[in-house]
Symmetry: C2
C-alpha cells in the first residue's frame, strides 16, 4: 500500500459562542483541529488530528503540509516494519529539529498518527487492538526513542513491564472488550454559572458518572465557593478535581491550594507551568499529606518533560495527550514510564475528536501495560462528539469500547466542509475580530 | 510613529556545502533566518531575525506573518509606554498560546524584537544603550513577565540587582564603549579536519582570541583525540570548551564526559536534552570536582526552563539566545535570574546575524545587570558577518562595541534577494533533495 497524496484541513468550530471549554487562560476557545488525510492506492485513508483551540491551527497545518513530503510515495510497509525509523526521520531531521517542540512536534505527531491509523485499518483493528497485539520486543526495539529517557526507564525494564502484563492480557482484553476505561468529565467550565454546572453534573450522574472536574484560577474566593458548592451538590463520596490550566506561579499556587484542603479533592491539575518540574516537586512536597496529588501532562511537550515529572514523583496522575507529542511513539514511552513509577495514566480529552484518540491509549495501558483499571480515569468531553462517523460513547460512566478500525476519526463530510477555516459557511461571514489571531480576549492579569 | 506594513522574508544560505556549523545532530545546516521588516509612516524600519538552520524557516515565517496583524496599525508609543502589554497580547493570546513554545514563542520574539529595534532607532541608540538607559523600575514594572518566575527571582530582588549596578553604570558604560564583551569562537565544527580546525584557531589567536570550542558527541575515541590534539595545540593556558548539542542521554553523557577530565575544559555544553533539568542537576553533581561546569540555554525554550536550570545551580554558564524565546522581554528575565544566582551570561551566537543581536545583551548584562566582565564570554561566529550593513567585528578577542542604532540588522539588499527561499538565484536551480524538508541527512544512531 503506497501513500499517494495528502490533504490537510483547518477545521474550527466557534465554541466560544457558548464559552464551552473556557478556562482562565483560554477564555474563549474555538475547539479546532488540524486534520490530516493520507490517501493510498488501495482506497484506505489514514486520518489524524492535532487539537487546538482556534487561532494557530493554520500554523500546524502549514507544518503538516511540509512534512507530508516525507511520506508521500512511501509504502506503508516501510512504516510498519519499524515505525521508529519514520519517527526519527521526522523528529531528528537535521534541519527541522531546530524548530523544537510545540508546533513542530505536534506536526510530526500528525504524520505518525495517520500512519498508525492506516496500519490499524489495514489490519482491520481499532488502534487499541493493534497496540495490544504488538509483541513487547517490537515495541521496545521498533517504536520507542530511547535517546533521552534511559535514565528513567531502560529498554529492559520496559520489556519486563510488557511481559508481566502479557501474562494476563487475554483476560484483560476480554474484560475491556465489554466495558472500556472509566471516564470523567469537566462540568465546571469557567464561563458557566453554578446552575449550568449542576445541570451538567446531574445529567452525567444519571448516566453513571461519579467523577467531575472544575476550572479554577483567577479568583480565590469565587473558586473556593464553587468548589464548596459542587462538593455539597455531589456529596462526600464522589470524586472532585480542579484544573488551573497553569494560571499560577509556584508561591501563588500554594496560597490558593491551601484553601482547597477541606474539600477532599482528588487532584490539582496544572497549578503551574507545564514544564516547571522543580515547581511540581515543591508543590508535591508542600501538600504531601493532602487528599489530592498534582496532575499534569496535557501540555507536556515531550517525553523529556514526562520523564522528569514521573521520575521525581512530582505528579500523582499522568495526563498524557494524544496529539501534543510525536504521536503513538512518544505516548507509548510516556505510558511505559508512568507504569514504571506506578503513576496512573489519565489521558487528557477535549474536542475536536481528541477523545476518539485517547480512549485507545486508555485501553492499551489498562490491558497491556499497567494491566489494570484500578486507578485510571480517561477524560470525556460531552460536546462535539457527533462530528465524526464513530462518535465516542459512554455507558455506566465508562467509555464504550471502540470497535471501528483505526482511531475512528472519520469526520462527516458536511461538518468538515462547513467548518473549514476560513472558507466554510460557518466562518465565511463571521466578523474578523471573532476570527483567528485577531480574535483577542486577553486573560485578566 | 505608526506601523504601516510588514514584510517577512525566508532567508537561507547553503552553508551545508562547506559543512560550516555542523554538529552531531545538525549534520548539514543551511544557516537561515526568518527576517521581519516592520515599516512605519516616518520611514524607520524595525528589523528582527529568527535564526534557523534551513528547513522550517517557512514555518516561522508563516507564524510571524499571522502575528503581524496584531501590530500593524498600532503606534510605537503604545509599545514603548509598556512593552509587557504587547508581550502579553502575544504570549498569552487566549487561543494562540495553545501552540506552546518553539515556533510560536520564536515568532512572538520576532515581533517584539522588531518593536524594540524601532524604539532604539527612534532614540538613535544602539539596542544595548537603550536598555542601559532604562530605569530599573521601568524594567521591573513594564518589561518582565513575572507569572512563572517569582519563586526564583522576585521583582524586589530584580530592582535591587539593577540599582546596585546603576551605582557604577557610568564607569562601566565608559569602559565598554571602548571595548565590547569578550568573545570566543567555535573552531571545531564536526565536518572539519584537524588541519582546518587548527588553521582557524591560529587565525583567531593572531587577532587576540584565547577561548575556543569544539563539537563532540558521536564517537568517544575521535572526540577525545580531537580534544587532546586541540589542547596540545593551544597550550595549557587558553580556554577550551566542548559542545555535544544534546546528543547524549544522561548516563551516556557521564561515560563520555568522564574521559574529558584530563584536558582542563572550561565547560561542557548541551551534553543532554535542552530541558532535562534533573539530568543537568545529576551531571553537575557527578562532576562537581571537575575543571568544567555544564553550559546550556541556546535551546532553552522559555524563562521557566532557565529558572529551573539557574535556581538548581544545574548549569555553571547561562547561554541565553536572542531569538529562541520571546524577545528582549524574556531575555531580560533570563539575564536577571542569572545575575541573582551569580552565573555568567554567555550568549549563544550563530548566523545569520544572530551575533549582531547577542552583543547587545552582553553589553547590557556587563554594564547594567551583573555590572562586570570578569566571567562572561559572548560567542562569535566567523562567517556570514558581511551579509549586513553593520557587520559584527572583533578586536583583541573582544567584540567591537556596536554603534549603529537598533540591533544593526540591516541586510544588504542584494544578499537578501539572492538568498530568499525558494525564489532567489542561490536556490532557484538547486536540486530539491538539497532543499527544505526534503533535504534529509539523518544523524547516525
Amino acid at each position: 500500500m503506497k501513500i499517494t497524496s495528502a490533504n490537510v484541513i483547518d477545521l474550527r468550530v466557534p465554541t466560544s459562542d457558548d464559552l464551552l471549554g473556557s478556562d482562565p487562560f483560554h477564555t474563549e476557545p474555538d475547539y479546532s483541529s488540524a486534520v490530516l488525510h493520507l490517501e493510498t492506492d488501495n482506497g484506505l485513508r489514514g486520518v489524524s488530528v492535532v487539537f487546538t483551540i482556534g487561532a494557530g491551527t493554520d500554523w500546524i497545518c502549514h507544518g503538516i503540509q511540509d512534512l507530508t513530503q516525507l511520506v508521500i510515495g512511501s509504502d506503508l510497509e516501510d512504516f510498519t516494519t519499524s515505525p521508529i525509523k519514520l519517527y526519527k526521520r521526522l523528529i531528528d531531521h537535521h534541519q527541522l529539529r531546530w524548530l523544537h517542540d510545540g508546533v513542530f512536534r505536534m506536526a510530526c505527531g500528525a504524520i505518525l498518527n495517520a500512519m498508525w491509523d492506516l496500519w490499524a485499518k489495514q489490519e482491520g483493528k481499532p488502534l487499541w487492538k493493534l497496540l495490544v497485539d504488538l509483541e513487547p520486543e517490537f515495541i521496545v526495539d521498533h517504536c520507542i526513542d530511547w535517546r533521552n529517557i534511559k535514565d528513567a526507564l531502560t529498554p529492559e525494564e520496559a520489556l519486563e513491564i510488557l511481559h508481566k502484563a502479557k501474562a494476563n492480557k487475554a483476560t484483560r482484553e476480554q474484560q475491556m472488550s465489554e466495558i472500556g476505561p472509566k471516564a470523567y468529565c469537566t462540568a465546571g467550565w469557567l464561563g458557566l454559572s453554578n446552575e449550568q454546572i449542576i445541570a451538567t453534573i446531574q445529567k452525567l450522574q444519571k448516566t453513571g458518572f461519579d467523577t467531575f472536574k472544575l476550572k479554577v484560577g483567577q479568583n480565590l474566593e469565587d473558586d473556593v465557593a464553587r468548589i464548596k458548592f459542587t462538593r455539597e451538590a455531589i456529596g462526600p463520596d464522589q470524586n472532585l478535581m480542579v484544573d488551573a490550566n497553569q494560571y499560577w506561579g509556584v508561591d501563588e499556587a500554594k496560597e490558593h491550594i491551601q484553601h482547597y484542603l477541606p474539600y477532599n479533592l482528588k487532584w490539582i491539575e496544572e497549578p503551574i507551568a507545564r514544564d516547571d518540574v522543580l515547581g511540581y516537586v515543591e508543590l508535591s512536597e508542600t501538600f504531601k499529606d493532602a487528599s489530592f496529588k498534582m496532575a499534569c501532562g496535557e501540555q507536556g511537550a515531550s517525553p523529556v518533560i514526562f520523564k522528569q515529572l514521573l521520575k521525581s514523583k512530582a505528579i500523582g496522575y499522568c495526563q498524557i495527550d494524544a496529539v501534543r507529542v510525536a504521536g503513538v511513539n512518544d505516548v507509548m514511552a510516556n505510558i511505559l514510564m508512568a507504569a514504571k513509577y506506578d503513576i496512573p495514566v489519565c489521558p487528557h480529552g477535549g474536542g475536536i475528536a481528541l477523545c476518539n484518540m485517547i480512549q485507545h491509549y486508555g485501553m492499551w495501558d489498562q490491558i497491556a501495560v499497567s494491566g489494570h483499571s484500578d486507578t485510571q480515569l480517561v477524560e470525556y468531553i460531552d460536546f462535539l462528539a457527533e462530528c465524526v462517523e464513530h462518535p465516542v460513547a459512554t455507558k455506566d460512566g465508562h467509555y464504550v469500547t471502540p470497535k471501528a478500525p483505526g482511531w475512528g476519526l472519520e469526520f462527516h463530510s458536511d461538518f468538515l466542509a462547513d467548518h473549514t477555516y476560513p472558507t466554510g459557511k460557518v466562518w465565511a461571514n463571521r466578523p474578523p475580530e471573532k476570527c483567528g489571531a485577531r480574535f483577542e480576549s486577553p486573560p485578566k492579569h
